[in-house]
């Protein structure tokens, strides 16, 4: 036990964690506190009598904690802690209405986007440690794209407006959306030395701004229109940062946050103003004329949001697969010895990625889960075979897996029954209503496997870093990919089992 605690302490000394106060972080911090207070007071009345209101408040507090950590973080590692927490809170709040199938699906999309970019964040941390500045800057930039919903990771934002209005406000109106831009702002020394990276940031921001404006102009529903307007504004913030106007960017963040909070919270007053003359006088005639010059096909493409959904799906799936294959083969070529470990790891990896990519095959979700757990198991075994202490990690990870399977067992039973009667069409089983305890157990063990800082997965990742960093960088990266997909799949299985309408 003592050894275990010592190891944990060592780990915490391994990386520096700490807080700092700079003009930007203090400004952002005040903004955060203000927005939290306003939205909190709003939610006090609004959420009264709502089913699941205590859950909302827990997530609200969790989010507040996370974003404040990120705001005052001294370095990337501390920032990452808060980043992960915000991502998790976001996932749970999108899927707040657990009986609504569409909410659960959309929260999954958000989680998948977040996790992929988190991968880049971890790589940025690693690369920074080894002083590869341009590469780490690049990874940091890509990492912020999902949170701030910039192209090509924009398709989750307008689907994410499924939760209660206050949560939509908090996340997609204001704070969580700006966290990506804020990361770039706080850690600007990492990327602003390179002209190429600046050009990249500018291009991403500019294209997102135009994309957001054009597509937002075609939206027929209120919250999605706001979401696209937000994408556009954050794109402009990126441009400002690329041009070096950091103070302007911070000011813009503050102003935009307040604007969006106001918009979302009073969105329901729409019908009061819809018939008023002043409302219809707002449309600018100049822009109507410019829009009128564009061809019909352009309007329709814009209505289809320029197919960014399809693009991001393809990018997610095939990008990951290609990346994994490339890394794996380069590993095969470069690595010496220990063929068994490579093959077992590789098999698990490939299966993982294939299952992730080929969703249309409609695999047995529980089998997929077993395969993935096996992957984790194999990784753990391979890495921690020598040292006694790391056996504890192994033990704990096995325990988490057992807890996972135990909590999922009723779902497996029902699923098998359904399959025999012909109704297995990826229906959500909705067991969370009846099996609250098991759902909680599942969530705890799933979070333990996500690799958020403080979870055992995180310690395992640290272990892997230690072991593999010296041996092979690409291998390390590939294991990270595998663990990311593991997270996504675990939550997906949990969704299938616990969320959804139990009547179905």
């Amino acid at each position: 036990m003592l050894e275990f605690l010592n190891t944990i302490q060592d780990l915490f000394h391994h990386y520096e964690y700490g807080f700092s106060f700079s003009p930007f972080s203090v400004t952002f911090g005040i903004l955060i506190l203000f927005t939290l207070s306003v939205v909190g007071k709003f939610s006090k009345n609004y959420l009264k009598g709502e089913v699941g209101a205590p859950r909302f408040w827990v997530l609200f507090t969790f989010f507040a904690f996370g974003i404040l950590i990120s705001c005052f973080a001294k370095n990337l590692t501390t920032f990452y802690v808060g980043w992960e927490m915000v991502g998790l809170a976001s996932y749970f709040l999108i899927g707040f209405y657990q009986t609504n199938a569409r909410s659960t699906e959309n929260s999954m999309i958000a989680l998948a986007n977040y996790k992929i970019c988190d991968l880049f964040f971890v790589m940025a941390i690693l690369l920074e440690e080894s002083k590869l500045h341009t590469a780490s800057g690049f990874c940091l930039i890509i990492a912020t794209l999902a949170k701030s919903a910039q192209l090509p990771f924009s398709s989750w934002l307008y689907r994410a407006l499924e939760g209660p209005t206050p949560s939509s406000t908090l996340f997609y109106g204001g704070l969580s959306l700006h966290l990506g831009a804020f990361a770039l702002l706080q850690f600007s020394p990492m990327w602003d030395h390179s002209v190429a990276l600046r050009v990249l940031v500018f291009l991403i921001g500019f294209s997102s701004a135009i994309f957001g404006f054009l597509v937002g102009s075609t939206r027929s529903d209120l919250k999605t229109a706001f979401a696209f307007a937000s994408i556009s504004q954050v794109g402009l913030i990126y441009c400002e940062m690329a041009l070096g106007f950091y103070n302007l960017a911070m000011w813009h963040i503050v102003g935009h946050n307040l604007l969006r909070t106001w918009n979302y919270l009073r969105g329901m007053s729409f019908f009061d103003e819809f018939f008023k003359k002043e409302y219809h006088q707002q449309k600018s005639i100049i822009w109507d004329n410019i829009f009128g010059l564009l061809p019909d096909s352009f309007f329709i493409h814009s209505l289809n949001s320029f197919y960014v959904d399809r693009i991001s799906v393809l990018l997610r799936k095939w990008g990951l697969l290609i990346f994994t294959l490339v890394a794996y083969f380069s590993l095969l070529i470069s690595h010496e010895g220990d063929l068994f470990s490579i093959l077992s790891l590789g098999a698990g990896l490939l299966l993982t990625v294939l299952l992730f990519v080929k969703e249309r095959i409609k695999p047995n979700p529980f089998l997929a889960g077993l395969v993935l757990s096996q992957t984790l198991f194999l990784v753990s075994i391979h890495t921690f075979f020598e040292d006694r202490i790391e056996h504890l990690y192994l033990v704990i990870s096995i325990m988490s897996l057992i807890l996972l399977m135990v909590s999922l067992w009723p779902a497996v039973v029902i699923w098998k029954k359904r399959q025999s009667s012909g109704f297995d069409r990826h229906q959500l089983l909705g067991l969370s209503v009846k099996l609250r305890g098991r759902h909680l157990v599942f969530l705890v063990s799933a979070i333990a496997l996500t690799g958020s800082p403080g979870t055992f997965e995180f310690f395992i990742q640290e272990g892997i870093l230690d072991e593999l960093w010296s041996k092979s960088h690409l291998f390390l990266v590939v294991s990270m990919v595998c663990l990311t997909l593991n997270t996504v799949h675990t939550f997906k299985i949990g969704q299938l089992a616990f969320l959804g309408d139990s009547k179905n």
Binding site: T165, H252, H256
Partner: protein, 760 residues
């Protein structure tokens, strides 16, 4: 011979396709009324969403409607449903857009109807959109030549081989339409009543919509398989559950009806007085159940005030364009078509500064329309900071600011109404209106010096269901405009002269005053006339004091009934943007009484009753009874049934929680970022309601009531099939006569012959 053969086969084909088209049309004709009726949100009125089933007995009707609307036992493949909705909903939402989206310069694409819009959409979109879409686009030439009816016909024939066996393809089309029942209902509504478009009228037809659904479905699923299946066991089980719930409701109703009937019997024995002296003031309230408690309070505080309940639109069938609005809205019950038009203006000249302030505020509120949004975000965050702070912290200050700078809510003593040319009332019409109201209330003599016409409305904020809190008789608007116009008629010298010829001698000392009661903030305002005499002013001031006290008590009573903390102020509650329950509206409404006030004067009705003043003594031929019943009873039934269905079966008929709601196309609400249009009332509106069917007590002669109910098909259905309960109280011997079976059981009395129905 060859020619003959060819001709035969062509003719045969033509006959066959004619027959198929006929079958499909017949099916749609039967299906259309079953779609939910829900007006677009800007024109929200209470109605019975399952009006089609009123021709069946209540139990059967509600069960079938509930099974249909809930999609009970219907299993839909989740992947199919998601792709289907993702493809189809944006097409309809962008077609029906009323001005919500900013990019309006390509609206010409939507002038050829929904099917034409869909075709343009497919032509211009890229196949890259999705695999299914690529399929649709690839076969474009095959299906685009046909009209929507033809396409449905060919697709059905392809899927089901023949249309003779109707059960399969009926189920198929019905499931498709009802999967998105809110949208289908809206399409049907717009098709049958194009005046319901809030701002932009579009050509639409249900057949077009159905063609799109069939097309997308056939591309999404394999030819022989249906992604929609029904489990009859589950359906049957749900049917039984519904019946059990209805039985529970019936038990509740039974208890309530027994109590109320006993109360009535006791009261009738006691209260048969007739007031002799002239009251100091007479106040005409709307029949609304929220006004019932106020009437009671004010009668208690000042017994010299006589109150009447009359239809809240005061007989004025008018469409008014309110201040700064673009369109005319009807200010009369939905069953009446407004014949006249007027515009609301302010008496004081609106200064340029005021206009500028209003424009600036609107610009700040709707920045998504301008490219200058980043500039606004950069230059003016203080506006948002200030408004967020004020709205969060100090509601009183916010209310004051709104009043001072935005003139909201409009000060009603500052409003005047100008009729449009050719749409004003003639003298004869004015006289008729005033006479009808006075006669139906039984007020022919003993006019007091001050007669107040009290309209009512509700001021709420951040509430898409705003119209549901307004006066139902004015289609959700505030009744003040009608009150003011009525008073201008009744104070008119010529009108009074004509009335005198009709034996209505209103003395010169009598003045009609218009008033407004805000049911949410429990505030009131009485608009003084310039020509008031001193004594009238004194009386009015005294009434003001009495009204203020009564309203305070009314608030206490209301808060106690609905479990709201008494320390809250109702004004704050109405100004609070985070309050999903600013008031409870018609919650707990359960009965309606048509009769003189002394019948119910001492009863404790707890705000659960509509009260309509009606005096059978003056009504010789039943004309007044017809006036009140035809104007008031359908409104009461609609309100009660709307609340009933949303409360008792929220999944089938209700809107769900207000929290994740999203406004779409300017016509309705969706849950989340994409989904079906919601029907019914939000959960927050009905969570204090008790689901009971309306019981109406009518104090009148038998032959009048029977003939009036018989004249209206809808009322006959409602009563005969027990959707509402009707009890007649005889004016001579005060006996109670049931018109529905349940009540006859309670009263141990024989059912009225004309309405007795066999045990079902």
């Amino acid at each position: 011979m060859d020619d003959n053969l060819d001709q035969n086969s062509i003719e045969g084909c033509q006959l066959k396709s004619n027959k198929e088209a006929f079958l499909i049309n017949e099916f749609l004709k039967e299906l259309r009324p079953q779609l939910p009726i829900q007006n677009p949100m800007p024109f929200f009125v209470h109605n019975n969403p399952i009006q089609y089933w009123e021709k069946y007995k209540f139990k059967q009707g509600v069960e079938s409607a509930c099974l249909l609307y809930e999609r009970a036992g219907i299993q839909i493949d989740r992947n199919f449903a998601r792709e289907f909705e993702d493809l189809v909903i944006p097409i309809l939402a962008s077609y029906l857009d009323q001005g919500m989206r900013r990019w309006t310069s390509h609206d010409h694409l939507g002038t050829t109807g929904l099917w034409g819009w869909f075709k343009s959409f497919v032509v211009y979109s890229s196949s890259f959109k999705s695999e299914v879409f690529a399929d649709i686009k690839r076969d474009f030439n095959l299906w685009s030549e046909q009209s929507s009816e033809e396409y449905i016909r060919t697709a059905l024939v392809k899927k089901f081989k023949t249309l003779d066996n109707t059960s399969e393809w009926h189920f198929y089309l019905k499931s498709l339409l009802f999967h998105l029942k809110g949208w289908s209902g809206m399409v049907h509504l717009f098709e049958s009543n194009p005046s319901l478009y809030p701002l932009k009228e579009k050509k639409i037809s249900l057949v077009d919509w159905l063609a799109i659904l069939v097309l997308v479905e056939s591309k999404l699923s394999a030819v022989d398989q249906l992604p929609i299946e029904v489990d009859p066991k589950l359906r049957h089980q749900r049917g039984r559950e519904i019946q059990l719930e209805i039985a529970d409701i019936k038990n509740n109703e039974d208890q309530f009806y027994r109590t109320i009937i006993t109360d009535f019997r006791d009261q009738i024995k006691i209260n048969r007085n007739l007031k002799n002296q002239t009251p100091v003031a007479q106040i005409f309230f709307c029949i609304d159940d929220r006004e019932e408690t106020l009437r009671k309070m004010i009668e208690k505080i000042n017994p010299q005030i006589e109150t009447f309940g009359t239809v809240g639109f005061f007989g004025i069938d008018i469409a008014i364009r309110s201040l700064d609005q673009l369109i005319f809205q009807p200010f009369c019950p939905p069953v009446i078509q407004p014949r006249k038009k007027a515009t609301e203006l302010t008496i004081h000249q609106v200064s340029r500064l005021e206009n500028k302030v209003k424009s600036a505020v609107t610009a700040f509120n709707h920045t998504r329309f301008t490219v200058l949004e980043p500039l606004i975000a950069l230059l003016a965050p203080f506006f948002y900071l200030a408004t967020l702070l004020i709205r969060t912290l100090n509601l009183g200050f916010y209310g004051w600011l709104r009043n001072k700078f935005l003139n909201q809510p409009n000060r009603i003593d500052d409003l005047k109404y100008e009729f449009e040319d050719g749409f004003s009332y003639s003298l004869a019409e004015k006289v008729k209106i005033v006479k009808d109201i006075l006669k139906s209330a039984g007020l022919k003599e003993n006019f007091s010096q001050v007669i107040i016409m009290m309209g009512h409305g509700a001021s709420t904020t951040n509430n898409p269901f705003q119209k549901s809190y307004g006066c139902g008789a004015c289609s959700g608007q505030s009744g003040f405009a009608n009150a003011k116009i009525f008073c201008s008629f009744a104070n008119d010298v010529y009108v009074r002269k004509s009335l005198a010829e009709l034996e209505y001698h209103i003395p010169e000392s009598t003045m009609f005053i218009a008033g407004h009661h805000d049911t949410c903030s429990d505030e009131f305002m009485l608009v003084e006339d310039k020509n008031m005499s001193v004594s009238q002013k004194t009386i009015l001031n005294n009434i003001r004091i009495d009204l203020k006290r009564s309203l305070q008590k009314n608030t206490e009573d209301r808060f106690n009934r609905f479990g709201i903390d008494l320390s809250e102020s109702p004004v704050d509650r109405s100004l609070d943007w985070s309050q999903p329950r600013p008031e409870y509206g018609h919650s707990r409404v359960a009965m309606a009484v048509f009769g003189p006030r002394w019948l119910t004067g001492n009863m404790n009705l707890s705000g659960r009753s509509f009260l309509v003043s009606y005096d059978p003594r003056n009504d010789l031929n039943g004309a007044e009874l017809e006036f009140v019943i035809m104007n008031a009873l359908p409104v009461c039934a609609n309100i009660n049934l709307d609340y009933f269905t949303s409360r008792a079966f929220p999944e089938a008929f209700g809107s769900g929680s207000k929290l994740p709601m999203n406004i779409v196309s300017g016509i309705g609400l969706m849950t989340g970022s994409k989904g079906d249009l919601r029907i019914g009332l939000a959960r927050q509106m009905v969570d204090r309601h008790e689901a009971l069917r309306l019981i109406s007590f009518v104090f009148c002669k038998k032959e009048h009531l029977v003939s009036i109910i018989g004249k209206s098909a809808r009322l006959t259905n409602l009563v005969k099939n027990e959707w509402i309960h009707l009890v007649r109280i005889d004016p001579d011997d005060f006996s109670m006569e049931p018109f529905t079976e349940h009540i006859s059981v309670i009263l141990n009395d024989k059912l009225t012959e004309e309405f007795s129905v066999g045990i079902s």
